[in-house]
Amino acid sequence: MTFSSLLKGMWKVISLYWKDLLGSGIAFTLLLALIAVIGGVIIGTLFAVGRMSKLKVLRGLIVAIVEVVRGTPALLQLYVGYFFVPAFFPAMNSLDPTLMAFICVAVALTINSGAYVSEIIRSGIEAVDKGQTEAARSLGLSGKDAMLDIVLPQAVKNILPALGNEFITIIKETSLASTFFVGELMTKYKNIVGVTYDSVSTLMVVGIIYFILDFALSKGMKTLERSMKAHA
């Protein structure tokens, strides 16, 4: 295959399938990533708070969940979500199969991202110098006040950039969801190739789209980081 025939193939894929397939694929990919990251931030915050709790059982449980998520492949976790979520909520079986798969995958990705985000938040808090807390406590403020007014505002500066990276990672990981044909970008790749048999051109197009999404996001995060640094 020559370079020009590759370009031609790519152009064909874009012009024929942009409207029906690729556009909605991008939308689904972004939606899935957004759900996973927002849900992940909520779960991750709860986990991070839980890990600072005095209850040993709670701390142990959270550490166990985080370690299991970090120590097993994401694809395996998606399979587990795909089979387990409907088992726990039988009502879901009456849903449209694609919607059901989407929900299952979204749940699994959210828990996956929650585990990583909880580590990001924890390390962000730990990276704030202990002296900051000590200074606040030495002035007679409670541990809660020191955390909310002094430590967390500083931790956010450590957390936000890492959270951006997590978002970027999750966008790439959504491609695993194509195993269950949930309609995101990689599913569309399979759909298109099923018709055209032109995997190379389609892969290139899809790859470029992923790259543009992540590159734009990473640039955006850099700008945000710089503006935060300029502030303090």
Binding site: D129, G131, S138, L139, L141, D149, I150, A232
Partner: protein
């Protein structure tokens, strides 16, 4: 004013303090000197419970900051089952107390020492304890690394604690409304500005700490503590992280404070300064106070061999 009784502090298997006792009087300036790792900073940090002592008690203005240490209260020992068992064997009361103290025989876990013992411990605690956050409001602390709040401007650094604790007091007195809050903030601001003016940094009120020199940071850290109107100020090696040319400006602020009659406890390596401002100098060695006295005695006629050695190295 501030008293530590038989303080022990272990970090794991490392024994840092080994039964330190001293009492700081009102208006007194006490310097704590000693080699690195001797336990002098730990001793200071135990005074406001930034480190929790393993054994022993800390008292501030007649109030107990730590849990009750049974070994410091003969009547508590007498109420214990261990004491009763020993005297039942025919041992003399004083001998039994001495033996229990020396061999650390009290077993507090699972109420092994009986109800009477527990009730007495609770009674002493309830009669004397003070909430640590409230106690700390009367003890200013200055750190080696300054520890200014990086996310707040200089003025906010100084105003933060007075406003926050002031609001808490107002709420407690059921006197919290828009006017009292506005007055509190205005008063705190006025005081913060006056303090900044006093150290000649009024023009830095609205900048962030990252733009300041070490000497400026430390002077601001001192007035931040002063903004709470403390009864005693604790200094943990306040000049050790400074460039040599900035040490003077910080020591000057401290000297002025001492002149005004502030009660101060200072952990320091600045021997000249300790000699000049202190009423009393403590030499800490290997987790104990090896020698104490007025600066003249300690610096000119040291008795302890380690102190002599230490002074010959630093002077």
């Amino acid at each position: 004013m501030l008293e530590i009784k038989n303080l022990y502090k272990n970090f794991g298997s490392l024994k840092v303090l080994k039964g330190v006792s001293t009492s700081i009087e009102k208006g007194e300036v006490v310097s704590i000197i000693g080699a690195s790792g001797s336990g002098k900073s730990t001793m200071l940090r135990c005074m406001n419970l930034l480190e929790t002592p393993t054994f022993g008690e800390v008292w501030m203005e007649g109030k107990l900051l730590t849990p009750v240490d049974p070994y410091l209260h003969p009547e508590v020992i007498k109420a214990s089952n261990t004491f009763k068992a020993l005297t039942a064997q025919g041992m003399d009361e004083n001998a039994a107390i001495a033996k229990i103290k020396a061999e650390d025989l009290l077993q507090e876990k699972h109420n092994k020492e009986g109800k009477e013992y527990k009730a007495l411990m609770d009674k002493i605690y309830k009669e004397n304890f003070i909430d640590i956050d409230h106690a700390r409001r009367k003890m200013g602390m200055v750190f080696q690394q300054f520890n200014l709040f990086n996310n707040k401007t200089v003025l906010q650094n100084i105003m933060y604690a007075p406003v926050k604790t002031g609001i808490e007091e107002l709420k407690k007195a059921k006197n919290y409304n828009k006017e009292t809050k506005a007055k509190l903030i205005a008063d705190s601001k006025e005081r913060a500005e006056a303090l900044l003016k006093r150290i000649g940094l009024a023009d830095k009120a609205n900048v962030y700490p990252s733009t300041l020199s070490g000497g400026q940071k430390q002077r601001i850290a001192i007035v931040r503590a002063l903004a709470m109107n403390p009864d005693v100020m604790l200094f943990d090696e306040p000049t050790s992280a400074l460039d040599p040319e900035m040490i003077g400006e910080v020591l000057d602020v401290m000297k002025e404070l001492a002149k005004e009659g502030m009660t101060m406890v200072i952990v320091t390596h600045e021997m000249g300064f300790a000699r000049e401002v202190s009423d009393r100098v403590l030499f800490v060695d290997n987790g104990n106070i090896a020698e104490e006295g007025n600066p003249e005695e300690v610096f000119s006629k040291p008795k302890d061999a380690h102190l002599k050695d230490f002074l010959s190295k630093v002077l």
